[in-house]
């Protein structure tokens, strides 16, 4: 008897808290799979800066790092689907399964929205003898493995983006992987590599200060912050489906539909916040919105683009 009463009470409590109480009644957690202070983390913090204005509660960034982002994205997947945990997902999610690092794919999540797409920039030091992509490619073709190409890590978007160029135009670079964007940039500045593949926004200031020459951007259109930098196609090396870095928001599966809808609208409002837009423009980040369906379509395409590229650099497992 006592037990039934308890159960009934529990049921009522559970019922009332789930359908009658307003969502959200407490702060929301945004899981960021990369460390505090990095590029992704900074964007996340800028995005949720004015959360209270838009959804009535704060969104707190929690960094769950490690395992190339797998730990943090895995934590989002496993989180309680009550809508109080939202996860930031990034490019790696497109490669984990292909590279044999984890079984995690975008199919493990309920996608909320795409936040941004970044394209690769190929840069040389300001003192470099090369002034155009064509000169580099000619030289690299004539002298296989003579051009050293620094990138930010094996399997990272920028590596794959440069690898795709090499495969497509039968050119052999001497790839030198670094551990992230910052060391790649200093290697380029110090003249330790001939060419660097990074996110184009990562060299924005060095480009403006005239410390590096950005030869081309691996995108279909020019980058608004780099109006003078040609696309690969304009530089004479057309690639149909460029590898793009991306960031987006996702929920664990089975979050109640009304809460999902609320979060969708809420995060869209934060995404449209003029302060956030201004910040992204300042750092050269291109915001691209896609809703759940569009985001899913984009990620499905991405896997198709990546499979042959990963295969070409020997990273498919």
């Amino acid at each position: 008897m006592k037990k039934t009463l308890c159960l009934a009470a529990a049921a009522i409590l559970a019922f009332s808290s789930s359908s009658f109480a307003a969502f959200p009644e407490k702060d929301i957690t945004l899981v960021v799979p990369w460390s505090a202070g990095g590029g992704t983390d900074t964007i996340a913090r800028a995005l949720v800066k004015n959360a209270k204005q838009h959804i009535g509660v704060n969104v707190n960034v929690v960094n769950k790092t490690g395992g190339q982002g797998i730990v943090g994205m895995g934590a989002t997947k496993m989180a309680r689907p009550d809508g109080y945990t939202v996860g930031l997902i990034t490019f790696g999610l497109s490669t984990y399964k292909l590279m044999g690092l984890s079984q995690l794919t975008y199919r493990d999540f309920d996608l909320l929205q795409l936040l941004n797409q970044s394209s690769a920039g190929l840069s040389v030091n300001a003192d470099s003898k090369w002034n155009s992509l064509d000169e580099v490619m000619q030289h690299a073709k004539a002298n296989p493995r003579d051009v050293s190409l620094g990138h930010t890590g094996a399997g990272v978007a920028w590596h794959l983006s440069a690898a795709a160029l090499g495969v497509m135009y039968d050119t052999e670079f001497n790839f030198i992987p670094f551990d992230g964007g910052a060391p790649t940039r200093s290697a380029l500045l110090g003249g330790h590599v001939d060419l660097a593949a990074t996110g184009i926004d990562e060299v924005k200031q060095l480009h403006e200060a005239g410390e590096v020459k950005v030869l081309a951007v691996n995108a279909l259109q020019r980058h608004p912050a780099f109006p003078d930098v040609p696309t690969l196609a304009e530089a004479g090396y057309k690639i149909d489906a460029p590898v793009l870095d991306w960031r987006g928001l996702a929920l664990p599966k089975n979050v109640p539909a009304d809460r999902k809808q609320f979060l969708k609208e809420g995060f869209k409002k934060m995404f449209d916040d003029p302060e956030f837009r201004k910040y992204c423009e300042d750092v050269g980040l291109i915001l691209v919105y896609e809703d759940s369906a569009g985001f899913e379509q984009f990620l499905a395409n991405m896997e198709e683009v990546l499979t042959p590229t990963l295969d070409a650099v020997g990273l498919i497992r």
């Binding site: 505090a36 202070g37 690092l101 890590g153 094996a154 030198i176 940039r185 200031q205 060095l206």
Partner: protein, 507 residues
């Protein structure tokens, strides 16, 4: 010219006293964060960034720099008192700081540490204020071969921190190097020794290892000794060490501080490496190397001056090139960007109104650190007089919280505990653990840069000796090992002679 700008910046800061308040708050919060194992200066800064949103940019930054300065310093307090470095940068400080506090001179150890931090930090800040552009150019000379040679040079410090047996020290370092091969390899994109456990993809992360090796292992030792050995009552003693002692340490502090600043300014090297290098160098050139490891004042002054000197150094590449010198400056870089200033070459052209207050603020942070540190030293030193039967469970709890909070992961707690058990038994068998730690810091740097260099030279080994900086560091490493070995022999001889003499006397 820059002197004039600096004066103007001081004027700006002093014109609004709330700026000073923010520095004070930052430094104090930093010390608290720093002395708790597992909470690092990096986390402190990252957590505080949202609060700085509402502040004017300069004041927000002053507060963050206060945390940076205080956090690196604060780590030494727990290293000295409970043999658990609060931050990786304080790992070298415990070698002499803890023995000194076990002798009942905790107050003195903290006092020397504070003064050394102040001297080193001020030198670092001054170098940053007046030589930033030149130093930044120097940092860029470091390519993969240079980083490899530097890592080897750093690893040669093992000879200074091995304690009683060089062989056991070398074995410990090798274990550490092997551990660093665990995890995702960013060069080839392949997971190594992870046994399909995603938690291991990032490798054995540094903070749980640090907490395990020192924190948990110390807890186990305390438990063992608790009922047997009477607790040494620490005389908090004089707050300020006698001026004569401080004066004799000043050359060590100045040298270590400048070395720290230069080390910190090379992107990728942090305060922790700076501290170990300074410790090794101080021991190498010391008149009394046999005292190192037994509570040598030089052994506290050198790493503390170096790690705080490195804070100023690490800011240099971040501000001038937009390339962070270490993890904390990476967070500061994010904060600057959020406030609308993109660090890099253009910052010095367009935003002198931000650059110089940063320099001035860094100098002020050191002053505030000296005042807060010295007035807090008495309080901190009293902590060690708490009954170990109460203190030990508290440390245990802190270690659990600390290892969890780095990435909010229970896996890390288990990892730290396991490492703690291993470290406890290593201690029983008289294996030093500090070489493991040094290997954990430098191992990935050595391995990755060796492979990177060989990729660059297409497997030509001569790349390491034909590039001048790389060759110089390799030669330095050889000298370090050679002179370290001779010194080690000498100390052993002296000890043996003393032993026979005492036997004679007894006989």
């Amino acid at each position: 010219m820059s002197f004039f700008y600096l004066l103007e910046a001081f004027q700006t800061i002093f014109s609004d006293l709330s700026s000073l308040l923010f520095i004070l708050m930052g430094v104090t919060a930093g010390i608290m964060v720093g002395c708790l194992p597992g909470l690092t200066a990096t986390m402190g800064c990252a957590l505080l960034i949202p609060f700085t949103f509402s502040l004017p940019p300069v004041q927000g930054l002053l507060m963050l720099m206060g945390i940076f300065t205080g956090g690196i310093y604060g780590g030494s307090i727990s290293a000295i008192l409970i043999r658990t470095p609060g931050t990786p940068a304080a790992a070298a400080t415990l070698l002499d700081g803890h023995p000194l506090s076990m002798r009942g001179e905790a107050g003195k150890a903290i006092g020397i540490g504070t003064i050394a931090s102040f001297v080193g930090g001020t030198i670092g800040a001054l170098i940053m204020a007046f030589m930033a552009p030149q130093i930044a150019k120097f940092g860029l000379l470091f390519g993969p071969p240079e980083f490899f040679a530097l890592a080897i040079f750093g690893l040669s410090m093992i000879i200074s921190i091995s304690g009683e047996s060089l062989l056991k020290g070398a074995i410990a370092a090798l274990i550490g190097l092997l551990i660093t091969t665990i995890g995702f390899d960013p060069l080839s994109g392949v997971p190594r020794f992870t046994f399909n456990n995603e938690n291991l993809l990032g490798g054995i992360t540094f903070i749980p290892a640090l907490i395990g090796m020192f924190g948990f292992a110390q807890v186990f030792r305390n438990i063992e000794r608790m009922e047997l050995v009477p607790q040494v009552k620490s005389k908090v003693g004089r707050l300020l060490p006698p001026f004569k002692e401080v004066r004799s340490l000043l050359p060590t502090m100045a040298k270590s501080g400048s070395m720290g600043a230069v080390t910190g300014s090379v992107p990728g090297l942090g305060c922790d490496i700076a501290a170990f290098i300074a410790y090794g160098e101080a021991k190498r050139t010391s008149k009394t190397p046999e005292k190192f490891g037994q509570g040598s004042l030089e052994g506290i002054a050198a790493p503390e001056a170096a790690n705080n000197g490195a804070t100023g150094g690490a800011m240099i590449p971040m501000l001038t090139l937009g390339v962070p010198g270490d993890a904390v400056t990476a967070v500061l870089l994010g904060a600057l960007t959020i406030h609308g200033f993109q660090p890099g070459p253009l910052l010095f052209r367009d935003h002198l109104d931000v650059v110089y207050p940063i320099f001035a603020g860094m100098i002020l942070c050191q002053l505030v650190l000296l005042i807060v540190g010295l007035s807090g030293a008495r309080l901190f030193a009293k902590l060690i007089n708490i009954d170990t039967r109460i203190l030990t469970p508290v440390i245990f709890l802190l270690c659990i919280v600390g290892s969890y909070s780095m990435r909010f992961s229970f896996f890390d707690v288990g990892l730290a505990l396991t490492i703690g058990v291993i470290a406890y038994f290593m201690g029983k068998a008289k294996f030093p653990v500090s070489p493991v730690l040094l290997a954990l810091i430098l191992g990935p740097m050595a391995e990755q840069n060796m492979r990177r260099s060989l990729m660059y030279s297409q497997d030509d080994l001569s790349i390491f000796v034909t590039r001048p900086i790389s060759a110089a560091f390799l030669i330095l490493a050889v000298i370090m090992v050679y002179s370290g070995y001779r010194r080690f022999k000498k100390i052993k001889e002296i000890e043996a002679r003393m032993q026979t003499e005492s036997q004679h006397q007894e006989g």
